[in-house]
Amino acid sequence: MQVNANGNEIIRVEDLHKSFGSLHVLKGVTEHISKGEVVSVIGPSGGGKSTFLRCLNLLEVPNSGHIYFEGTDITAKGVDINIHRQKMGMVFQHFNVFNNLTVGKNITLAPTLLKKKTQAEADEMCKELLNRVGLYDKIDQYPKKLSGGQKQRLAIVRALAMEPEVMLFDEPTSALDPEMVGEVLYVIKDLVKTGMTTVIVTHEMGFAKEVSDRVFFMDGGIIAEKGTPDEVFNHPQNPRTQEFLSKVLY
């Protein structure tokens, strides 16, 4: 499923820089992502993977550079980022499900509040989504009662309830107990099959290799190597990539 780079471009990033104080995390990232493409971002900790992902929906505001989403420069002054965020679902390492809301309310809050759906429509969709991830019986419970894997599945469908164009995953399985990794990856794999444009920061190399159209290897604040999973995992050219992959078991 190789997508033409010039074709259905949905995200374009130009010379992105981000610093936290004196720490220069992103040192000029230029990249594009096409509609329907599945991109995995791998690399060592501190390489800028998560910061790159969080810049895409401006949870981190870059110091310089541009991010175009569906042709709009969302880093420009006066852009209402809230409108664009509605089309970019995000899943976090630590789930971040809303602790004060029931499972059902977690899903229906944003669509109803942001006037995308009536309460009845949202409830209907909520039912469908929860069934899809096997959580329908939890609809009236609070997240406190859920396991890590269940919370993450809830977080995924919460994002899907906004019917996003892109899904961003920030190490979605890193905080899970080992036996719960599978159930979450299964849901993501299912989602990828539907043709959802997906950017996933992950340490699950086997998963990245299996589902991705392209893989970015980030190190030192830049994309040090990129290519198809076969190119990056089986024939890495950059010595840093070779070193990283040799240390990672998968």
Partner: protein, 229 residues
Amino acid sequence: MEFFSVMAQVWSKYSHLFLHGLWMTLYMGALTVAISTVFGSILALLRRSNWGIGPFKPIQWIVTAYVEIIRGTPILLQLYFFYFMLPSWLPFLDLSEFACVLIACCVNSTAYVCEIVRAGIQAVDIGQTEAARSLGLNGTQTMIHIVIPQAVKNILPALCNEFIAIVKETSLASTFFIGELMTQFKTINGITYRVLEPLTIVGIIYFLLTFILSKLIALLERRLNASER
């Protein structure tokens, strides 16, 4: 023992004064709590605002200065200050003594409530805010639907302590004889020349009051926690 028999006599003779004092203490405490909760919460939200030009954030500065000054000076001094300042600087308001003291108490406890609310909001995991913002909720919607409901649970125990402190601090208002429990002690002491007996009675009333209050709030806390199980 003479102490207890005198105490019983003092109570039977002056119970109406003690009860009036209790009523005034409750009245003043409740008003202070209500007013300072409202203003303290507003100030805490204002303090979070980044409104300003570059590093110049006047709202943040003013609120911070207010909180620091109030916390850094004794409440008795503040009571004196407002008691004399309000009538002389704002004579056209024609404030009663009670009003002046009440305003002083409110100004004092608003600063503490502001700090409690700020800390409570800050204690809510930043991930909750990020998740809400990533769905497209704006800052205000995130505060109303996600952050504040969770902050309330952090705030409540500390606010409870503040309420109990307020009830006790109203005793300082007796400096100006405004009729609360401690004033009644002074009155009865003046009539009977007895110190320990009326003082003990007032102490017992204060204790029962704060004890019941803390039990009530503990009950409320349990209810709130139960709602998310």
